[in-house]
Amino acid sequence: MSAPAAAQPWSRLSPQEQRILSPLQHDWDRLEPQRREKWRGLAQRYPRMSPPEQERLQQQMRPWAELTPDQRRAAREQYRSFQNLPPEKREEFRRRWEEYQRLPPEARREYANRPPLRDGGGRMYYPGPPPRNPDGSPRVYYPAPSGPPPGR
């Protein structure tokens, strides 16, 4: 797609493109031409997506557009690492995410405020088998009320 064509203002998009990219309508004319080109590329793929995928795309469009370029690059890198995991590890990753969401907000804030933990290559850390209590229920950690974080 040529640069002049990709830099089209919102008013010159096709009706289908406007419908698909509607979450970005108010920000469209402020986007750089390269970013507009990428979104139009996504819009071209939209008809081939399943209805659930289309719904998820529309829901995540604005949050994705609001990320900084570095955040988007980091997310792409992490996603590629995730895709390279074996299927069972990917499934485990999904389950652990759901488990993390069940933590209290203050617990999640505590973990978020810690310095990032990475392996030697700086790549995404993926989980091993989930820790279990003796009775088999998933183990959930809560932050200590005081003192330094463990392992520091």
Binding site: Q34, E37, K38, G41, L42, R45, M49, E53, Q54, R56, L57, Q60, M61, P63, W64, L67, Q71, R72, A74, A75, R76, Q78, Y79, R80, F82, Q83, F93, R94, R96, W97, Y100, L103, R108, R109, E110, Y111, A112, N113, R114, P116, L117, R118, M124, Y125, Y126, P127, G128, P130, P131, R139, Y141, P150, G151
Partner: protein, 136 residues
């Protein structure tokens, strides 16, 4: 020139004219053809000599290593056409690489945005720290 010499020249000319007048047509034609060929060879020889002289004069100031043929080499249309084709192929390949990289980014973004996991799953530092601590 003396009168005696003039008389002698006139007599010789007369004898030669009588000879050519009685010459057969085929013989005259062959003589004419030979004369024409001799003149052509003389003309070509003069042209080659002039070309060599010009090349020698140009080679004195030429910068190519091909000596007298240097100017014709660099002025060759085929050479410049080849250079243009190579440059165009290089530019085209670079553009293709850029297009391919952009296409891969769009494909990755489509997968992320349609994934059953939210974007935060790939960005949440707290989640990463929690995973690490959980596995100790």
């Amino acid at each position: 020139m003396t009168t005696h010499d003039d008389d002698f020249a006139r007599k010789v000319t007369g004898y030669l004219d009588q000879g050519t007048a009685s010459m057969r047509a085929g013989t005259a034609y062959r003589l004419q053809l030979a004369r024409q060929q001799a003149l052509e060879r003389l003309h070509v020889g003069q042209t080659v000599e002039q070309g060599e002289l010009a090349g020698a004069l140009a080679g004195a100031g030429a910068t190519t290593s091909s000596g007298g043929g240097g100017r014709s080499f660099w002025l060759s249309g085929k050479l410049w056409l080849g250079i243009l084709l190579i440059a165009a192929a290089g530019v085209g390949y670079q553009q293709y690489q850029s297009w391919q990289a952009a296409r891969e980014v769009v494909e990755t973004d489509a997968q992320i945005l349609t994934s059953d996991l939210p974007i935060d799953a790939y960005l949440d530092r707290g989640f990463q720290n929690w995973l690490k601590q959980d596995d100790r």
